[in-house]
């Protein structure tokens, strides 16, 4: 990752956290001030999907060209993606507790994202259960493709087929005008980019750490 991208991420996030709390937001019933969660909770999911996407990319790359490097990148991206997913679920539960009355409301969006995270947890279980490095890499690369393919309908499609209380749902599947009016876009989109950059940065650190470890083991 280039150095300037790290500074860009920092600048964007400092802006997002200032403007996200201070800027005007639409006055909506039920949501009230919590509409600002859009700047902090939703980018977690975007970050997760982006990192899982990167993980998928390296998994496919591994299947085409089996190298330790591709496998390493694939698993570390998935790892950071999981962290983002957990933060998304936790912030969502906190919000649901005050808005819907209970942390786990059984909303299709909550259930879908929880199942998607479980599917990715199984990816790590699978990795942990195979000793042979090559076999582990190949098996988990194939499973990675399946996991991503399972995540898309769980997060994007099934919640929209059912009634969901989640803001942005109900009728219009996208972000409709009440949830994302134009003022909010100027903070929301930078937030998504900023957190994706931070996620890629952390993933790159993890990849470097893993590579170092393997190099040291090689030396001995």
């Amino acid at each position: 990752m280039k150095q300037w991208m790290k500074f860009l991420a920092v600048a964007i996030l400092l802006y997002v956290h200032t403007a996200g709390l201070l800027a005007d937001v639409p006055r909506l019933n039920i949501l009230n001030e919590t509409v600002r969660a859009l700047y902090f909770h939703v980018p977690m999911w975007f970050g997760m999907i982006f990192l899982f996407g990167m993980s998928l990319y390296f998994a496919i790359k591994y299947l085409a060209n089996p190298s330790v490097d591709n496998d390493r990148k694939s698993v570390e991206c998935a790892h950071v993606g999981m962290a983002f997913g957990f933060l998304g679920i936790l912030t969502g539960m906190l919000w649901a507790n005050y808005t819907w009355g209970s942390p786990w409301h059984g909303d299709p969006k909550q259930n879908g994202s929880a199942i998607a995270l479980l599917v990715y947890m199984a990816y790590f279980v699978l990795r942990g259960s195979v000793d042979n490095q090559e076999q582990r890499a190949r098996l988990s690369a194939v499973y990675n493709v399946f996991a991503f393919a399972a995540m898309i309908p769980l997060i994007f499609i099934i919640p929209r087929l059912q009634d969901s209380l989640h803001p942005g749902s109900g009728g219009n599947p996208g972000f409709n005008i009440y949830d994302l009016d134009n003022r909010m876009r100027y903070i929301f989109y930078p937030a998504v980019i900023g957190w994706i950059l931070i996620g890629v940065w952390i993933a790159s650190l993890r990849v470097r750490r893993k590579a170092l470890e393997e190099k040291i083991l090689d030396l001995e």
Partner: protein, 82 residues
């Protein structure tokens, strides 16, 4: 269009608009007016800046380790050639 229909539509439309505009949800206006929101902003920024500084330090440490390993490798191969 019949005039009664026209006026009915106009009334319905104006009602719809006023409802949309007058939707006055309760917001943390007093909290903002008192200026206490800036305290929250400052706290959030300190936490964010701290975590990011930590990330930068971790990054630097990693670069240093990579260099160290590189040097060690070189001295090892040099030792062999002698």
């Amino acid at each position: 269009m019949k005039s009664w229909l026209k006026s009915f539509l106009a009334l319905a439309f104006s009602l719809w608009i006023t409802e949309a505009v007058a939707q006055d949800a309760e917001m943390a206006d007093a909290f903002r007016a008192e200026g206490k929101i800036y305290v929250v902003v400052a706290i959030v920024l300190i936490v964010l800046a701290g975590l990011i500084t930590y990330l930068f330090m971790l990054d630097r440490k990693m670069t240093r380790l990579e260099k160290m390993l590189q040097e060690k490798k070189q001295t090892k191969t040099n030792g062999k050639s002698f």
